[in-house]
Amino acid sequence: MKFKALTAVAALMVAMPAITLADPDDDTLVLNGETEMVTKAAAPAHMEETGIDTVMSGWHFRNDDTQAMQADDFDNPGMLAVESAIEAWNTVEGEAGKSCASCHGAAEDSMKGIRAVYPKWNETAGELRTLAMQVNDCRTNQMKAEPYKYDSGPMAAMEALISVQSRGMPVNVAIDGPVQAIWEKGKELYYTRTGILELSCASCHEENYGNMIRADHLSQGQINGFPTYRLKNAKLNTVHGRFKGCVRDTRAETYKPGSEEFIALELYVASRGNGLSVEGPSVRN
């Protein structure tokens, strides 16, 4: 009995190093040969209890070819979606007869710094808004047009256009004041072990980043690079689309894109990346 217990402890200790060692690379992401991006940063204060002292972009966990694709806008397939979103930005839609440009002018100016601070509390509406919610709010209330489907291609493209205006700026979402309770809820979801496989976001992205799960090199599951162009499905992917896929892979009933749960989770996950550069649209496998 004693002996068995000791064996278990020994096995546990053997297992430990594999769990704490992380091996992301040390490359530097320089965008278009000009802008040096912050892809590793001191972890924000609220992460002290996690034992993670450095937060890292998912870029570090991808292979050299994928990394290079993101470093050059001519090679980044996500930039094609940005082109199509520029068109959408200037296109009049809906009964109000307006385009985004009618009110916001050039995205290069009006959308600078926006991605970095979303999800953000909207005082007038009294709600936390993700970027997707804000875009749809403008579409429905300002333009009297149909909303985009939450995790659709056009939404991902518009998010990419808005993200591009903040590339290189540090993610800086607020987690206190009116959003604190939502942030706490997001945190709880992050640590909830779901599905028949009973895995939480933390099981893979906190306890095991740097390790391999089958052929996948686990990153910290950061969202500073969203929307992400994935080579696997050859399209831009939204934050909630990605969350959904990860929850599904625990053999769980997923939450819906745009749901209260995913909005709260997005705020929490975004806050774990405070300090990293906005990268969207990034390239991942």
């Binding site: 278990a8 546990l12 895995l199 099981s203 959904k244 769980a252 009933e253």
Partner: protein
């Protein structure tokens, strides 16, 4: 003595479904956290066990563990320790327990429970993302026994 009594209880409880098969809810762990009785009553087949361990839809054990004897299957992960030599480190009863419900031996482990049907949060229907209507264990009783048999062959 204790072990004997518990095993007997398990055998009796199992009765209903398949003769000689212990249902997930009726599995009995002894005071060391091990499961002494075979779940199926039929000796495990190591060759079948090897298949279960590499099959993505079944055990998919190599997603998290390196196993030199299974190097034919691509992409072994390293979330868990290498399983080389586990046949020396653990008895069959202990290995059975680790597969059935690793949380008994390793509190809080990320390793899934392969023969359990309750206690889940938002259980899904396979990888569909939809809610489960009924929950089957990840492995059948016989598949667990087959994996136990295969792990028993992993000696240094």
């Amino acid at each position: 003595m204790k072990v004997y009594a518990l095993t007997l209880a398990a055998t009796l409880a199992a009765g209903a479904a398949f003769a000689g098969e212990v249902a997930p809810a009726d599995v009995v762990f002894n005071e060391d956290g091990a499961i002494v009785a075979s779940l199926s009553g039929v000796a495990g087949n190591p060759a079948e066990g090897a298949k279960v361990m590499t099959n993505r839809g079944l055990g998919n054990c190599v997603a998290c563990h390196e196993v030199s004897a299974l190097s034919d299957a691509p992409f072994h992960g390293n979330v868990g320790p290498s399983l080389d030599g586990v046949g020396d480190r653990w008895s069959a009863a202990e290995l059975r327990s680790i597969i059935v419900n690793a949380k008994v031996m390793y509190e809080g482990t990320v390793m899934p429970s392969f023969y359990r049907v309750s206690g889940f949060t938002r259980p899904g229907d396979g990888y569909t993302g939809k809610a489960a209507t009924e929950i089957a264990p990840l492995l059948t009783a016989q598949q667990v026994e087959d994996v136990v048999a295969f792990l028993g062959t992993l000696k240094e």
